[in-house]
Symmetry: C3
Subunit: 162 residues, 3 copies
């Protein structure tokens, strides 16, 4: 894909690629197998802190759907930044997004996963156009690292090295 | 794989491929990266409604293992239908199923994930024979979209386009 | 990769590849799509029993972080054993690990997923060196098969058959 065009589109939207978060443990941000790039699960971080920690639908430790949606968008942007970094600082070798799994920390009776997960999906389509569309799974889980309300795992289609 | 043969096998089993559910959000049913096709997580739908909403092992919002197993089978069939559709309306380019992740909405003390997840696995093997066998993960989660008791995410091996 | 070297490294660390667990249901331990090998989710087993069943951060059905870490390591070793077995009894065709998803059974307020998930990551790096590094997602879930406190799903990069 055209690196300049994508960066320009993000600029036009007033979106800046966030810094690539350093893994908080013994792993790496991106690994490639053939035509597929696997990005580590992203917990949304702002200024070194988890963005909107808490649980969706939980009266005690509350996160609103809007906050969750924003956090999902941030995590997706981090995944994009990590991808670009791993592909040599350019989106040139990126073909598109393949799969996105959005894990949401929720109370057991929460049902509106699609709306919150759209926060991630829409950022990817805004940034990459049609190539940003993807197969998606949205899952409500018991807990996430650092108390995050969302974690986003992205798999991308890339041009494999000859 | 042979498209007619697979359809015939399903007919012999009295199984009909369900309509491909439209994603309820900003994503697509299937995306391909090289030799791998990623199918969006499927929530089992019948006549526009979630099949057997609820939680496994939950006394208040109950789904029986048999209901869960049937719902998992339905979700797997939807994944097959989505795959066929994305591959041009034929199983010709399908090599087989690679990975299946079965997410079950459960109470915390539920332990019989394998039995319920078999509902998905067995449908895939019935439809595709040996090529339908797959690596599988079965996970008990807090909540799923629309209150579904199961969501099935399928990854398939396909013949990549030259 | 060099099969002998990896086995030697494991021996030097006092680590033995465990037996490949037989799937407890209708699936197979490993499936390959092109350059990618998908390993079934591994529940850590010792002598036919789940290692350290329970939940992290749960006062009633307790598993300590150290126990969880050990269990995650065991599950990762099982994934390695399954991979080697599926690749013809040798690591020769293995390029490296691509993605690891560590599912932890947790109480809702557990936050230290990275530490426990490191149990899996570190075993893979110990065994395979740099090729063992991977993209990772760590997720806290409601329940796992057989009451396990951890399930580890590994995806590997391999040399595809011509």
């Amino acid at each position: 894909m055209d690196d300049r065009e994508i960066l320009q589109r993000l600029t036009d939207l007033g979106i800046e690629l966030p810094p690539v978060p350093k893994p908080v443990a013994a792993y790496v941000p991106v690994r490639i197998a053939g035509d597929v790039a696997f990005v580590a699960g992203q917990v949304p971080m702002v200024d070194g802190r988890v963005m909107h920690p808490g649980r969706l639908g939980d009266p005690e430790y509350h996160v609103t759907p809007d906050e969750g949606t924003a956090a999902a968008g941030r995590a997706a942007l981090q995944a994009l930044a990590a991808l670009r970094d791993a592909l040599g600082g350019s989106f040139e070798r990126l073909r598109g997004i393949a799969q996105v799994t959005v894990y949401l920390a929720t109370a057991p009776d929460f049902i509106d996963h699609p709306t919150v997960a759209n926060g991630a999906s829409e950022v990817l389509v805004q940034a990459l156009g049609d190539a940003g569309t993807h197969a998606r799974a949205a899952i409500g889980v018991a807990s996430l690292p650092l108390g995050s309300c969302v974690e986003v795992a992205v798999t991308a289609a890339i041009v494999s090295r000859a």
